[in-house]
Each structure stands twice: as structure tokens, then as C-alpha cells.
Symmetry: C2
Subunit: 269 residues, 2 copies
């Protein structure tokens, strides 16, 4: 099997994301190897040997995605017996011309704690953990967005993704069975109504997810799921809370849709 | 200020990551606008108008990063008055030649729940939440990795990042003040010793982080931080638990270093 390498003097996350997006267009199986933090000549030469070995043992040339700040290290990797993509450098020339500014390469510019937005993202993550499942109603005013919905409709993973990826402070609040007889917003949510965003889901999918947690429980029954979802969707409509059906969307897609709908400011790009 | 646009028929996350890595090389301030889920001709024409307006109101041509599967939609965006980067397509030709396979463009291939690894990642995230802070000692055997260290050394955010980004099941366990007199591994950790990975941190940084949580507490005092860190580092050495100092690393960097050190298999690239 042919190998794809993702190599960098930093985390190699940019190489991974770019390489994954590109290679996923091709219906073939590859072996994936990430080699981060190649910060010395010795390490670069070792990786070069690793790439060349992969070529000789597998026959096919490996595909190498790399981002380096140091030219000497880059040249060592680029001279491997591989198809190599220095995909960032490929575009710096035209951008330099357009902006009229020279690039200032600096190691660990992205994905490091020196990135301006880093503290913001960690703070947002701690906020999401503290304010998961209505944990601290008094903090609702500090949230950028408050996700509401029935238990297991996707609120927690979405809150964490919004925090980690974009530095957005997302609290979340679940409507539970006991609320259903007379469903209304608790005062802390009523006071922050402009921050509410609802998640809903089909009863079938909700029941399947809940069954994984508590098999054959009343909580997981399709009947109970139907009742809760119906009540909560009625509340969303009555209170004009924007909402989306999370059934067939990933956490990334739900987050992107919430950001597009709410115009919340991202703290990281 | 010049605007950078990130546009896609999907989440636009790939455009954001690539554009961010590229633009962060240039010391200039830009306005950033992400426009995801452009799936119809009408929406594409609206975005084209948005881009053209940005040019006429700001003078400078916007920079547009886009990934589209549909050619008609792509052409609408590409004909905007902007510097546009169809950065994935730029590389598909050479990869096609190298692999000898034609690309099969498909919407929502990355960052959707149809990605093979999606369920794995959500399961890993639920695992990290359930097994945060030693929450369920009986589950330790199911973990791919168990992060250990003093309170506030970076275990929780790292566990969640490993889950969300790579589908790795990370539990974490804190050593607390009460353990310090006779610090040893609890039996559940002793049984899974090959899964342990330690995080440490400087007393100064730990004290600063703890002070944000509980200002002027004994817990946050530099003396207490020193004692706990010394005991825990002695345990790491005595038990030969691999560890790293998280003080100056981001969650992304800590995760990349753990993956490199442990050779854990990633479930997503």
C-alpha cells in the first residue's frame, strides 16, 4: 500500500487537514504517517530515510505533504524519493504580490499557544465544561450562545467543538422529561433569549442514541422521544428560538450552521 | 481592511485551516468571512455579489479560498472580482497522475457524519467526558491512553482534543493533595500501566492557572504546586511513565507529541 506522509517542524496539523481533504477525493486506500516536530537536521535526515525506505519496500512513491519554516530542513525532505507537496509555499508568492508584503516565516505560528486566540479557546473550553447540561444557570449571561434541546440531541459535543475550534463560549441546557407537562424557559434562559439556539433530531435517531446509553429504557423508547421532541419543537416555535435538526449532520456541520445562522464572531480562523 | 473569504458547499473548514495557515505568514490584519453550505446557484450568486461589494467598498481585492464539488457553483465564485484560490483542485491533477486513479468529487466528503471515522470520534468524545478526572475507574481498560498528572496540568482539554480530532479514547486521572503523602498508582492504573502518559508543568505556571480558579487558595499556592509536582514527577520516573512538560505547549502540540511518543493509531486524518 502506498504511504502518505504529513511532516512539519510544528504539529503537522495543517498538512494533515490539507492532505486529508485532497486525498479523500480519490477512492483508494493509503497508509497514513504523521511526523511532527522535525526541528533538527538529524531528525529531517531520519525522516528522509523513512520516506525512501517506504518507496523501496512498497514500490510506489510515497506522497509527502509538508510545511517547514527552515529552508535547510525543507530541502532535506523535498529531496526524498517521493511525490512532495510544499503546498503552502506554492501559494505564498502570489499572496505576497497581491498584499505587497513579504511573508515572515516563523515556526509554530499556527496551532501553538502563542497564537493570539489560544487562551480564548481554552477559556471557552473550560466554560463549555462548567456550563454543560445547565451546570451553572448563573453563568448563562456570559455565554456567547446557549444550546437547548432534549437530552442527547447533540448539545455537548457541539458546545465543545465551538469552544475548541472557534473560541466561542457555548453553554447548554437540556429539557428533561419532568419539564414536559408544562414546558417553558427557566428565568435564566428567558433573560438570555437572544442567545438561545435549539437542536432537534428525529425520534428514530434519538431513540437509537438513547438505547446505546440505556437499552430498553422508558427514556430511550420511541414514544418518550416523540413526546419530548414534540413539546420542545412547539416551544422553539412559540418562543421563536432558531433551531436546526441535527439528525444527519456532523458536529462540524452543526457548528458551521449555527455560526452562519447566528453571525457569532469566531475567535480563530 | 482587505477581506479574506472562506467558501464551500460544505462546512468550509478545510478552506479555513488552509487559508489561516497561509495568511498567518503575512504580518497584516485582514477581515475574515466564512460562508459555508453554498449549495445552490442562487446562494452562489449572492456570495459573488458579497465578494464584489467588498472589493468596491474596500478598494483592495478580497482573497477567496474555496472548495466546491459542483463546477457550476465553483465557476460563479471563481468569476468574482477577487484573488481566488481553488487550492484543492490545483493539486488534484498531479495526484491523479501519480495514483493513476481519477478523483471522485462528492459533496460533504470531509467533516460530515458520513465520514467513516465520525461515529468513532463521537464515541471517543463521550468516553473522554465520562472518564474525565478519574470518573469511572472500571473503564480504564477501554482507554487508548490514560493521561495522569496534578489538577490543572492540561489533562482534560488534551483528552477532548484527542477524541474530537483523532477519535482516540483518552481517560484522565488526577493526583490530588490527599494522595501526596504516599503517592502510588491506584490498582486500575497499575493494571493499565502501558497506557499511562504523564503531564507535568512548571510550579509558576500551575500556580497562575490555579489562582484563576481559586485565587489565593492553598491549592493555588506556589508551595503546594511545588510539592505536588515534585511527588508526581518522582512517581513518573520511578514507574517509568513517559511524560512531558505541558508548560509552553498548546493542546494541539501536546496531543501531537503524545501521538508521536505513543504510536497510538489515529482514527482520522
Amino acid at each position: 500500500m502506498r504511504t502518505a506522509f504529513y511532516i512539519s517542524d510544528g504539529t503537522a496539523i495543517t498538512s494533515e487537514v490539507f492532505g486529508h481533504a485532497l486525498l479523500s477525493l480519490f477512492p483508494t486506500k493509503l497508509k497514513h504517517v504523521t511526523v511532527p516536530f522535525i526541528e533538527t537536521k538529524e531528525k529531517a535526515l531520519k525522516v528522509q530515510a523513512l520516506i525512501n525506505n517506504s518507496k523501496s519496500s512498497e514500490g510506489d512513491r510515497p506522497i509527502v505533504f509538508h510545511t517547514f519554516v527552515d529552508n535547510e530542513l525543507r530541502d532535506i525532505i523535498a529531496s526524498s524519493d517521493a511525490m512532495e507537496y510544499d503546498f503552502l509555499n506554492h501559494f505564498t508568492g502570489p499572496i505576497e504580490q497581491e498584499l505587497g508584503i513579504a511573508p515572515v516565516p516563523k515556526t509554530h505560528r499556527t496551532h501553538s499557544m502563542h497564537e493570539k486566540t489560544y487562551d480564548h479557546r481554552i477559556e471557552a473550553m473550560n466554560f463549555a465544561l462548567t456550563n454543560d447540561d445547565g451546570g451553572n444557570m448563573k453563568n448563562m449571561g456570559d455565554a456567547d450562545v446557549i444550546l437547548v434541546g432534549v437530552s442527547r440531541s447533540g448539545k455537548t459535543p457541539t458546545s465543545l467543538y465551538l469552544a475548541l475550534q472557534y473560541g466561542i463560549k457555548a453553554a447548554n441546557y437540556p429539557f428533561v422529561e419532568e419539564d414536559m407537562d408544562d414546558l417553558k424557559l427557566p428565568p435564566e434562559l428567558q433573560q438570555n433569549k437572544d442567545k438561545l439556539f435549539g437542536l432537534t433530531i428525529t425520534p428514530q435517531r434519538l431513540s437509537a442514541i438513547r438505547n446505546e446509553r440505556r437499552a430498553n429504557s422508558r427514556y430511550a423508547s420511541i414514544k418518550q422521544c416523540r413526546i419530548e421532541l414534540k413539546e420542545v419543537e412547539m416551544l422553539f416555535k412559540k418562543q421563536r428560538i432558531p433551531y436546526l435538526d441535527s439528525t444527519s449532520y456532523s458536529v462540524e456541520e452543526i457548528s458551521a450552521k449555527i455560526l452562519a445562522a447566528t453571525k457569532l464572531e469566531r475567535h480563530k480562523y
